[in-house]
Amino acid sequence: MSGNAIEVKNLTKKFGKFVSVDSINFSVKQGEIFGFLGANGAGKSTTIRMLCGILEPTSGDAFVAGYSVKTEPDSIKRNIGYMSQRFSLYDDLSIEENIEFFGGVYGLEGKKLIERKDWVLESAQLTGKETTLTGLLPGGIKQRLALGVAVIHQPPIVFLDEPTSGVDPISRRSFWELIHILSGEGCTVVVTTHYLEEAEYCGNIILMDAGKIVAEGTSSALKAQYIQHPVFEIETDSPVELMEKIEKAPFTVEISLFGNKMHLAAQDTFSTVSEIGSALEKFGAKNILRIDRIVPTLEDVFIALVDKKGK
C-alpha cells in the first residue's frame, strides 16, 4: 500500500439506474487531513459509507488501512472511527455512560478504558461533567464529544461526514483544533464539508460533482490552477445592479456575488486597485464603496469550476 492510508480504485456505486459515485480514483496519505468537497448529493457521503465498509460498492474497490472494502469490511470497522453529520451519541445517557458504552463496544476495558475516557473528556473540555446528560450539552461541545468518542479506540483513520454542519463558527474553530491534534498524533482524517473555508485547513482536497472527481490537489495548487487572473473584491450598495452591469464588461473574466460584495476576476492587464477602479468608472459602474485586491479563496475555485461545467 506504500504508505497510503486509503487507496481508491474505480469505486462505483449505483442505486438502480442512478449513478451516485462514478468510478472514482484517489489516494490518501498516512496522517494527512483529507478534504472531501462538493454540493449535497455529489456523492460524498456515499463514498464515505463505502470506505467505512457499511455500503457495498457496485464495482471497483478501495483499500482502507490495507483492507478491501469488498472482502474485509469487518477488519476495516476495527481500524476506523466514524462520525456522521447527525449527532450520533445517546442523548438520554450521561457523558460518561456514552463514553463507556462506545469504549466497551470497541473492546476497551480496565485501565485502558479509564485512560481513554479521561482523554475524551479532556479533549471535549468536559472533565468534571461526567454525569451530565449528553442531551443537555450545546451543539459545539456535543460535536467535540462525538469526535472524541469516535476515536476512543485510537483508530489509524477517522472519517468525519460533515461534522460541523449546524455548528457556530467559534465551536467550529475549536473542533478543527481537535482535528489538527488528531492529525498530529498520526491519525489520518478524512472529512467532508460544504464549508469551503474549512477546506483551507485540509492538506489535499478533492472536489466531487455528480459522482465524479472534478478537481484535486492542495488548496493553493487548486487556486493556482483554476484562478489565473487577479481577483478583486468590490463592495457596493446595489450589488445586483452592478453585477448585471459589469458582467459582460471587457475586463471581466469571472464574477460572483457574496452578499453585498462581489469577487471579480479581471483580465491580467488590471493588476492594481486603481487600474480596475478607473476601468469600472469608465464603464459607468456606480455606488462602489470599496475595492480590494484579494487572495482568491476556494470558493472562487469552486464557483469557477461549476461555472465552467455549466457553460
Binding site: 457495498e56 476506523i80 456522521s84 450520533s88
Partner: protein, 376 residues
C-alpha cells in the same frame, strides 16, 4: 458476549431515564388487570326491567314478584301505556319489558294458555339472550306451580314419574365469571405489547436519531446487536408477567393451578415470536409513529381478535379459523388459560407448546435475517 452485555446495559440505562417505560412496565399491567377484571365482563348481573301489567290481579302480581325475587331482574319502571315501553327501550333504560295482557288470571283459571309478552332490547345480542333465558326459566317454573296448585286443590298428588333432573357442575370456573376467563389472557396481551411494540420502537428510535448508523460502523456484529436489543425487552416482559400473576392472585384471588415454571417456559417461547415481529416491524418502519401504527393496527389487533382472547375461535367461520392457526397468540392463550384455570401441563398441552416454539423460532430467525440484510 461482552459486546451484548454492553448493549443490554446501555438499554437499561436508557430505560431508567425514560419515565414512560416505567409507566408501561409497572402501571400498565395493573391497569389492564383492573380493566379486564372489573370492566370487561360479559356476565349479566342486573337486568333492568319494566312491567306493563294490564291484568292487575293477584296472579299477575305473583308472577311479577317471581321476577323481582329472582335477584336478576330489577323492576325499575311500571308502564301505564304502551308508548312508555317504546320510550324506555329507546332510551336504553330497560333491557326487557314484561307485558301481561288482560284476562291473564281468568285464562289461567279457565285452564287456558295465558300468553305473556317479553319485549327485549336485542341490540346486545349476548345480554339479550341471557336475559331471555332467565325470563323463560322463571315463567316455566311459574306455570309448573300453577299446575301443581290446581292438582292440589282437586285433592290429587303429582304422581312421581320418571324424570330427568340435570345437575350441572361447572368445573374450573364454578361461578362462571367472565373475569376468570379474561384475566389470564392479560398476561399474553401485555407480553405482546411490551416485547413487540417496545422492541420495534427502540430499534426505530435509534434509526431516527442516527445512532444505529454509528453502531453499524463499530465492530458490533448484527447478531450481537439483535440480541443486545431484544434481551432487555424479554426481561421487562417477564417482570410484567410476574406482576400480573401476582396481581391476579392478590386482587382477584385467581391462583395458577398448574406449574408456574411451565407457564414461564411457554411465555419464553411466545416472546420469541413477538420479539421477532417487533424486529420485523422495525425493518419496515422509518419513524416511531409508523412502527406504532403497524404494531397496533397491523399486528396486535388482528392477533388479539383471532387468538380467542375475547371471541371463541370455535364460533368463527372455518376460513378464519384456519387463519387463527398461524397466530402464535392463539396457542399461548390456550396454554395460559389451561395452566391457570385447569392446572393442565405439558401432557395435555404439548401440541400447543411445540407450535408456539416452532413459530417463535421461525419468526425470530426470518426477522433477524431481514434485519441483517437491511443493515448492510
Amino acid at each position: 458476549m461482552k459486546t451484548i452485555i454492553h448493549i443490554v446495559k446501555k438499554e437499561f440505562r436508557q430505560f431508567r431515564r425514560d419515565p414512560k417505560m416505567f409507566g408501561i412496565i409497572l402501571i400498565a399491567p395493573i391497569m389492564q388487570l383492573l380493566f379486564f377484571g372489573y370492566a370487561a365482563t360479559l356476565d349479566v348481573n342486573t337486568v333492568h326491567t319494566m312491567v306493563y301489567d294490564r291484568d292487575n290481579t293477584e296472579t299477575s302480581r305473583n308472577f311479577i314478584r317471581d321476577f323481582s325475587g329472582s335477584g336478576f331482574f330489577a323492576i325499575d319502571y311500571v308502564a301505564k301505556n304502551e308508548n312508555e315501553i317504546n320510550e324506555q327501550i329507546d332510551k336504553g333504560n330497560i333491557l326487557i319489558c314484561i307485558s301481561i295482557p288482560r284476562e291473564f288470571e281468568k285464562r289461567i283459571e279457565r285452564r287456558e294458555t295465558a300468553p305473556v309478552q317479553f319485549i327485549i332490547n336485542g341490540s346486545d345480542g349476548n345480554t339479550a339472550n341471557i336475559a331471555a333465558g332467565y325470563a323463560g326459566v322463571i315463567a316455566a317454573n311459574f306455570s309448573k306451580n300453577i299446575a301443581a296448585d290446581i292438582l292440589g286443590r282437586q285433592g290429587k298428588k303429582v304422581l312421581p314419574t320418571g324424570q330427568i333432573t340435570p345437575e350441572a357442575r361447572v368445573w374450573y370456573n364454578p361461578l362462571m365469571k367472565t373475569r376468570f376467563f379474561m384475566v389470564p389472557g392479560i398476561v399474553a396481551m401485555l407480553l405482546s405489547i411490551i416485547t413487540m411494540l417496545l422492541t420495534s420502537l427502540a430499534v426505530v428510535k435509534e434509526k431516527e436519531i442516527g445512532t444505529l448508523e454509528q453502531l453499524i460502523v463499530t465492530p458490533i456484529k448484527s447478531y450481537q446487536l439483535i440480541l443486545g436489543k431484544l434481551i432487555p425487552f424479554a426481561i421487562l416482559g417477564f417482570v410484567s408477567v410476574i406482576l400480573v400473576i401476582a396481581g391476579m392472585r392478590v386482587i382477584f384471588g385467581i391462583e395458577v393451578r398448574g406449574s408456574i415454571i411451565f407457564l414461564l417456559g411457554n411465555s419464553f417461547l411466545f416472546i420469541l415470536s413477538t420479539l421477532g415481529l417487533g424486529l420485523f416491524i422495525s425493518t419496515i418502519s422509518k419513524t416511531q409513529q409508523q412502527a406504532m401504527m403497524i404494531a397496533i393496527f397491523g399486528v396486535l389487533m388482528p392477533m388479539i381478535y383471532l387468538s380467542g382472547f375475547t371471541f371463541p375461535i370455535e364460533n368463527m367461520p372455518e376460513s378464519i379459523q384456519i387463519i387463527s392457526y398461524f397466530i402464535p397468540l392463539r396457542y399461548f392463550m390456550t396454554i395460559i388459560r389451561g395452566v391457570v384455570l385447569k392446572g393442565t401441563g405439558f401432557a395435555e398441552l404439548w401440541g400447543e407448546t411445540f407450535m408456539l416454539g416452532g413459530m417463535g423460532l421461525a419468526i425470530l430467525l426470518l426477522a433477524s435475517m431481514r434485519f441483517r440484510k437491511k443493515l448492510e
